[in-house]
């Protein structure tokens, strides 16, 4: 692709974002919150004045003050900077999951929907099995075994094992209904190849949905990481939202000892992340399917 074409795409995306931003209040609220969260995670966190992974860099158990914005933890870390690093790492995990799971789901749904027949049946049996297996127990077994070797991208990849089946089912359903439309028949009968029909005629209908699904998968992954963190199965050597809750709650009993600023910070941050992404995805879907409103 030429440079001009890239610029054109960027301009289109910018215009679309601006349109939704102006017209949809949910999207506006969600997107603004999202930008704040991403800034905290991916910009502010790099200005941390100390290493957020080492213990006892600051006096412990201090309540919030001007010097320590969100107080300090029993492990002697500044809660604000730890939180920023946690948001970044949790987002990396979630983005990894969303990248893998949403695309695997899209691919399997497309193949099953387009090809049909025995391939469709096999793929859908697999998908249904994965839908019914409770994801958390499966991940618990895998993570108990793999705990020492865990890295951020690997954890993201593992969470995607349990989050691809729903998208696959939905994509298949959409492809099945699209396949019966007249314009697809027209395209196929006029000699367009299967791949070309897929890319030119079917994909444009799925792209908006794909974006929404991507956002929802991020919500799911953040929730899953927090849940695994509570069980002590996230990456304990690093900062993530789940790990922060784990240390505060299970190891240093912040609730009993009343060090609320430490335990409340990751909980509030994850709640904001959930709401921000959900409002964004709702705004997007209202914009893309105005009929549903």
């Amino acid at each position: 692709m030429s440079k001009a074409k890239y610029l054109g795409i960027i301009k289109k995306a910018y215009n679309a974002t601006r349109n939704i931003y102006v017209s949809k209040i949910k999207f506006r609220m969600g997107f603004t919150l999202l930008i704040v969260i991403l800034l905290l995670g991916f910009v502010v966190s790099f200005f941390a004045p100390m290493n957020t992974r080492t213990w006892y860099t600051v006096p412990k158990d201090l309540p919030p003050s001007t010097e320590h914005l969100l107080g300090t933890s029993t492990m002697g870390r500044d809660v604000f900077w730890e939180l920023c690093a946690s948001i970044r790492n949790s987002m990396i995990i979630a983005l990894m999951t969303a990248l893998i799971a949403s695309h695997v789901g899209l691919f399997i749904g497309l193949v099953a929907g387009i090809r049909g027949g025995i391939l469709d049946r096999i793929l859908m049996f697999m998908t249904d099995t994965f839908i019914i297996i409770p994801g958390l127990p499966l991940l618990i077994v895998v993570l108990t075994v793999l705990k020492q070797w865990m890295t951020l991208p690997l954890l993201g990849a593992l969470i995607s094992i349990v989050s691809w089946p729903w998208p696959a089912r939905q994509v298949r359903a959409m492809v099945l209904s699209l396949r019966e439309r007249t314009f697809i028949y027209t395209a196929m009968l006029s000699g367009m190849g299967m791949v070309k029909v897929l890319l030119r005629e079917i994909m444009p209908y799925l792209l908006g949905w794909h974006l929404i699904n991507f956002t929802n998968t991020i919500i799911f992954a953040i929730g899953m990481e927090t849940g695994l963190g509570i069980l002590g199965l996230s990456i304990l050597g690093d900062n993530t939202l789940g790990v922060m809750i784990y240390w505060a709650l299970n190891q240093f009993f912040a609730l009993f000892r009343g060090i609320l600023w430490w335990i409340a910070a990751p909980i509030a941050a994850s709640t904001f992340i959930f709401v921000a992404f959900y409002l964004t995805s709702m705004g997007l879907s209202e914009y893309l399917h105005p009929r549903v409103r």
Binding site: K26, V145, L233, L255, L260, I267
Partner: protein, 340 residues
């Protein structure tokens, strides 16, 4: 007519049963191969970390643990043979002795705690499903009222939240800041017999965990999906016809809208059970509730893989069974399905 229906019924039940067994079987198989595919000798590693921590274990227990683990994970030996051994272990539900309270079988520990989990889960799921759907239908039917808009805003905030985050928020507010509920546990009196006082105490302790499950369950997906479905149903011709006929609003709401919404909502309940179960496991951990979830945490914490496997497979089988039972009940609610 009667013999024909019963033939269909048998076929319907037969198909569901096959799907049910196939699901459990493939779930178990996937777990086996996932663990098998890992590039490390997991067992020696786990045993090493157990002995390294210095927790005192019966040497006999360690040997038994190693044997069970080797069989369960099929390390060494040929893959097919170990797979068969693994299946036998799972389907006879024999996960060997537990390590946390050796030599009680892991199975027994799970069974002892299962009633706590089942009672908490079934009551809160039922309440949240009913409350959520009723509120959703009302908010959809009377969508211009103030309360409908407030409820929607609350639901949008609660919907994407996992159960355990809600549990933590409730704990902070209602056990620490305003200490009106206990921080955890299942019971705080000594049980000699099941008196009224004991039962009230049990309910008192399970109130906050149940509330966290109900809030998210009812005002989350139940509410939002039934509201959306109501809005869709309201545009149907038969609703307009019923209104034109002058039927009272109450009647339309109950017979025309609610009845039509129950069917898809039932399916969503079946599919959502996995998520509810997983969420409830973590809720139990947070509230130190004496159910299976608490056992799971304890098992992970002390490296007791036998108990861990027992809990995980119980969870899988429980979810599959619940979905299966819902499938069997389905034709009772929707006359259109009628055992196809």
């Amino acid at each position: 007519m009667a013999p024909k229906i019963s033939k269909h019924l048998i076929k319907y039940i037969g198909v569901r049963t096959v799907i049910y067994l196939a699901t459990i079987f493939s779930g178990v198989t996937i777990t086996f191969f996932l663990v098998k595919a890992m590039p490390v000798n997991a067992i020696e590693n786990i045993l090493f970390s157990i002995t390294q921590v210095g927790q005192v274990y019966d040497p006999e227990a360690l040997i038994l643990l190693r044997k069970t683990l080797y069989e369960i994970f099929g390390v060494g030996g040929n893959p097919l043979e170990s797979y068969v051994l693994f299946l036998r272990r799972v389907f006879t539900f024999d996960f060997g002795p537990s390590i946390i309270s050796y030599p009680t079988p892991a199975r027994e520990l799970v069974f002892r705690r299962l009633p706590w989990t089942i009672s908490l889960l079934s009551v809160s799921t039922l309440i949240s499903w009913i409350v959520g759907n009723l509120l959703g239908v009302l908010a959809g039917y009377l969508r211009d009222r103030k309360f409908a808009k407030v409820l929607e805003a609350v639901a949008i905030t609660l919907y994407p939240m996992p159960y355990y985050i809600m549990a933590l928020i409730l704990l902070i507010f209602f056990a620490v800041i305003i200490p009106i509920f206990p921080l955890g546990g299942g019971i705080s009196v000594i049980v000699e017999s099941l008196t009224l006082e004991v039962i009230l105490n049990m309910i008192w302790h399970s109130l906050l965990p149940a509330l966290s499950l109900i809030l998210i369950g009812a005002l989350g997906w139940s509410f939002l999906s039934s509201r959306t479905l109501t809005l869709e149903t309201l545009t149907e011709d038969y609703i307009s016809y019923a209104e034109v006929r002058g039927l009272p609003g109450n009647h339309v709401l109950r017979r025309y809208i609610l009845r039509n919404i129950l069917v898809p909502q039932m399916t969503v309940l079946g599919l959502g059970l996995g998520g509810i179960f997983s969420g409830a496991l973590l809720t139990e951990v947070l509230f130190a509730y004496p159910g299976v979830g608490g056992l799971l945490y304890y098992a992970i914490f002390s490296g007791d893989l036998n108990t861990l496997m027992a809990v995980v497979f119980t969870a899988m089988i429980a979810v599959a069974t619940a979905t299966y039972l819902l499938d069997l009940l389905y034709p009772l609610i929707d006359p259109r399905v009628r055992y196809r």
